[in-house]
Symmetry: D2
Subunit: 188 residues, 4 copies
């Protein structure tokens, strides 16, 4: 797990198409509520086996007014294989009900939001506090116990003094493969 901690304002998402929402979402409109973002690709094995079901579980566990949960389809490889048409069928077959946005294609092979956040690959888990501050940013598999601790710490805090993060347990499983492994797909 590679973690970057930045006491900076979380950049706005750039989304080309939304699923499972009545109207497009923006981080700006979610101010006042912590936000959990799961960046994934539908053909990333570690996302499918672990991080996507975990996100669905998080979504079902908390009231929508307590925690906003967003899936972000950040395709950085096999673009023809993971179109919105394929994603829609994937969402249907895996019975995903949380809001999912398709990250806007960029000028390179990385999509726009993924580049703004400096994500290393999929799955990436991003936590944003009530003030819109980017609290943590992790690439790779996060176990459920650690994630529960991270989310509850975020829910408990009312303001985020810059540079402070007491919530994350000390785990550090570096992912440096160039190809997708069972847990993660790095963007090279």
């Amino acid at each position: 797990m590679i973690e970057k901690q930045m006491a900076i304002q979380a950049p706005e998402l750039s989304v080309a198409k939304w699923f499972n929402v009545d109207a497009p979402l923006s981080l700006e409109q979610l101010h006042g509520r912590p936000v959990f973002i799961h960046a994934f690709q539908m053909l990333c094995p570690g996302c499918v086996s672990h991080a996507i079901p975990q996100t669905q579980k998080v979504y079902e566990m908390f009231a929508k007014t307590d925690l906003a949960v967003i899936g972000l389809h950040t395709v950085f490889e096999h673009h023809d294989a993971m179109t919105p048409v394929s994603l829609e069928a994937f969402i249907h077959e895996y019975r995903l009900t949380f809001p999912i946005g398709v990250d806007t294609s960029g000028t390179g092979h990385l999509p726009v939001s993924m580049e703004r956040y400096g994500m290393c690959g999929t799955p990436t888990t991003v936590l944003i506090d009530r003030d819109g501050i980017l609290v943590s940013h992790k690439f790779g598999r996060i176990d459920d116990l650690s994630l529960g601790v991270m989310i509850a710490s975020l829910l408990a805090r009312q303001t985020t003094p810059a540079g402070t993060d007491t919530g994350s347990p000390q785990t550090d499983n570096a992912v440096d493969a160039v190809e997708c492994g069972p847990d993660a797909c790095p963007a090279t």
Copy 2:
């Protein structure tokens, strides 16, 4: 698990495109060797989590000259989402190395080989003996212990008297959902 047992000659496969082979395969050319066919869809959750890794494990366990293993991509829903382009990326990301054929599109929503075999959905596991006789045909999840027993029984037999199947353990988990469940996608 729905099982059909027919002491009939296994119908030939109709395949539009092959992956992981040097030359197209046919059941006819495999006579003399038992054949294990796993029919799947790349967006069928039960295939992805269980049956596809199981097929990869079977493929790695036996010498190619002892047992032929074939994956068959039998798309009967979301056709635009599961094209050969998407399948190729899926095979790459999940590191599948066994031969995989794309079942030829039919006149209805079922592809040709799937219709010839009367398959109920995905995953379906088909076993064919050395004489090309269809020995068993199961829809749904098969646990590893039962599958090991089935394959070894097939390898042990030299000829197949019609109507005889002593190899399959007594399991019968009927799948009758209309939507994909965690274990299987029925073709309606």
Copy 3:
């Protein structure tokens, strides 16, 4: 999962023998620190497969000065089969390193601490806040995500107004079997 919430002072533990400690522990001496107690039996299948490894994981995740973790061997059945001699071998073989106390035998079949807390069986998870207030008390399997949320909520709170518990996610899997099931052993 059966949950009892009481804004009462957590009763002191009664322990006949300690493992993995330099000196006996007491709740009194742990004031100022939240306490996580896992009540188990070494022959309770749900404890062995899930709750005991979970407790070991919690123990390794947090600094000892942040969270106190205690295992409590609350034998209420098969007393001759789960003596301290057997428990010691169990602790060795399962490589448990958190402090474990043997609940003192009572006048009935329930041991003393188990009776003081009104536990329904094993596994039971008890959370006590910095002020020694019993915050939650759950019988049965708790998934890792929920437990992470519960512990971090406890760590975040500085005082416990009576009757308030905001930390527990809404889960309620009642266990009413009379025999041990895969997840829990009820004390009848």
Copy 4:
């Protein structure tokens, strides 16, 4: 997994006490039927999490007249912690229904049957053919698919020419730890 293959007559079991039987069993009386023996210890983690449930599954899968399944409690460490009294409670709590014999104490720390078979530790899986010939003898975790293949190969063969074993897949995971690991406890 350490495998020894010997085309020798399987030595008779020496059992001090039986559970789950009407009358004591012997290999001699089982001639004509293949025999599956699972040697375990109730405090061996790899036995409890994997090999014992696997044995229960094998027991339920085959007719008793086709395959004899025997559990053998081969205690070679922590003797005071794994007495027949503790074993009886263990069998009850884990709902084991296959015949289980307590290996007779020997003059050293290894029990008698364990020594006769030259077992390296627990779990050990022993297969004996219809003629009473010891066909295979494996220490450590066996995956379900491999075990299914081994058992069905044994059921399919009618006689055992000395020195021949075609049934076992090529797996070889040597276990050389001196302490119990997650998969196995070696007898040192």
